[in-house]
């Protein structure tokens, strides 16, 4: 394929839908990212070393760029609505974690709910993508990944309003979706 990138970015994708997992994995691989896809928030937390291990293990496996042998996660992209812990719960846990809070998090959802979108962005999500996710959405990830690598802290507000813009468009149906337990 020959895309000249310095090192491959590693993205952790979280989605309980098998089809959506396959799609996001393909979209990310097409963009030359390395992908790990899991089907639940608890598996994501386990992968990130957050499931009970944070206190016990002073050297979590995900951590620094210096430890070349260990797993490094450069971005997390997660579905919002999942059984058990939601994508929002995952977002909060990441942002509350000393080790992980600087990893950019992107939320995906099939539902265009402005209050949901705002809540996620306020909690620190970099982007909110409406499903089905397109290649053009994935192309928006690179600046966030580059920012993470360079350890800069510039705010980037250009693309955060996608969900809101869609909401105002007349041909988008707004589902009356009151938060319910997805079993």
């Amino acid at each position: 394929m020959g895309m000249a990138t310095e090192a491959q970015f590693h993205v952790l994708a979280v989605d309980d839908s098998l089809i959506d997992r396959k799609l996001i994995e393909k979209l990310l691989k097409t963009s030359s990212y390395q992908v790990t896809a899991v089907d639940s928030v608890s598996k994501a937390l386990e992968f990130l070393g957050l499931l009970g291990a944070e206190q016990k293990d002073p050297n979590p496996p995900f951590v620094s760029q210096n430890r070349n042998q260990e797993i490094e996660v450069n971005m997390i992209i997660t579905d919002y609505c999942m059984p058990g812990l939601t994508g929002y719960d995952l977002l909060r846990k990441i942002k509350e974690s000393t080790y992980l809070k600087d990893i950019p998090v992107v939320i995906m959802s099939s539902e265009n709910v402005p209050s949901r979108i705002n809540r996620c962005l306020e909690e620190g999500a970099e982007e909110f993508f409406l499903k089905p996710v397109q290649l053009s959405d994935v192309n928006k990830l690179r600046p966030h990944l580059m920012k993470g690598k360079a350890k800069e802290d510039e705010p980037n507000n250009n693309n955060k309003r996608k969900g809101m813009e869609e909401c105002l468009s007349p041909d988008r149906t707004r589902t009356r979706y009151s938060d319910m337990e997805v079993i």
Partner: protein, 162 residues
Amino acid sequence: MALARLRADLENLVQSMYKEGVLDNQFAQIQALQDESNPKFVVEVVTLFCDDAGRILRELTNHLSQSDVDHYKLDAYVHQLKGSSSSIGAHRVKLACADFRQASDNKNKDRFQEALDRIKCEYYLLRSKFQTLVELEQRISACETNQQLQNAMYGGGSTQRF
């Protein structure tokens, strides 16, 4: 040329599905993702979708047949199916799912049944066409492999590309 004919058949099938609204543009996105590194991507996704949809419809039928209908469960299943339909571009199945969720506002069992029947109807229509699509894709793939072998053995000749 058998390969050209197969490709034309596949193209015609997909175009007719777009025309009938059975598929929408999202399916084109899926086709666009198929490449040399993953030449069976479309078939894989279509197969996954059909397996998943079949499972969900069985669960829905099962839950709806119970005397005490669990509406949350029903809604959750239809939400799943709506999601995967949307992701694969199964336009009419997606719309039928949306109709079902509207029917759930009024918890009338008959309306549920009607809406579920509509989802099934759209899904079976789609599945039948998907089966043909998968067969065509597989025959094209076999034909291409055969042609590549021929070229390798006898040299020369041009390999048809997408």
